[in-house]
């Protein structure tokens, strides 16, 4: 019963403040967009303009819009996505291709 209460409390806190980045294995909010910006979905880069690559705010906005319009993933879910991609990269499930 006590664990059920703590999980519901945690869920409410997550909805209000967003998930704890530390518990997701992320160091900062910038890291979320840094991880997601290197993705190439169906061979297409998420960020196409060089200006968006350099400007953090523009980069974040572009990534949020991309996932919302194409996959219906809300901005609140992006930390989870970045965390999973980071985890899979670390464990070799997906690989970073270099030039």
């Amino acid at each position: 019963m006590a664990t059920k209460n703590t999980t519901t409390k945690q869920a409410v806190a997550d909805k209000q403040n967003g998930p704890s980045l530390e518990s997701l294995g992320l160091k900062s909010p910038i890291e979320i967009f840094d991880i997601l910006s290197i993705l190439r979905v169906d061979n297409e880069p998420l960020i196409k303009s060089s200006q968006a690559l350099l400007d953090q705010k523009l980069k974040a906005q572009t990534i949020m819009e991309y996932f919302k319009t194409k996959f219906n993933i809300s901005p609140g879910d992006l930390p989870y996505l970045a965390s999973m991609i980071k985890h899979d990269l670390k464990h070799g499930k997906i690989k970073l291709r270099r030039n």
Binding site: K4, T7, T8, Q10, A11, D14, I38, L39, R40, V41, D42, N43, P45, K70, F71, I73, D77, Y80, L81, M84, I85, L89, I94, K95, L96, R97, R98, N99
Partner: protein
């Protein structure tokens, strides 16, 4: 002398810039993989209480064999300890006293009367008390 265009990049130890091969650095994912991640996010966000539906336990689910049996409860035989249990140290003494008394055997067991008579005679020979 050779082709100038081949050597021009090596002048002064400077390497010519490499052309892009068409692929760029990044993590290549498909739309299906993103959908998988989306499903995983949904799974992570739901609490364990929401993820599993609680099914009340019944005897049939726990043990189908037991459910098939007669539902009437088994009347267990309750064996209670005797209120005055005989003392183990004195238990043999009582039997010895009874069996030792040949008169009692003679009176209670008519079939054993010849045996009791013979035993009494033997005891008298030894000098014992019948």
């Amino acid at each position: 002398m050779g082709d100038l265009s081949q050597n021009i990049g090596n002048i002064g130890g400077v390497r010519p810039t490499q052309r892009s091969e068409g692929t760029q650095a990044g993590v290549y994912l498909s739309s299906d993989q993103i959908e998988d991640y989306k499903a995983r996010i949904r799974q992570v966000q739901t609490s364990p209480a929401e993820r599993f539906t609680e099914i009340p336990a019944t005897l049939g689910r726990l043990n189908p064999d037991a459910a098939a049996q007669d539902p009437t409860p088994i009347n267990r035989q309750i064996i209670q300890e005797a209120a005055q249990a005989p003392d183990p140290s004195n238990s043999t003494a009582g039997i010895e006293q009874l069996a030792g008394n040949l008169q009692v055997i003679y009176a209670l067991l008519p079939q054993a009367r010849p045996l009791a008579r013979q035993a009494a005679a033997e005891q008298r020979l030894v000098g014992g008390k019948a």
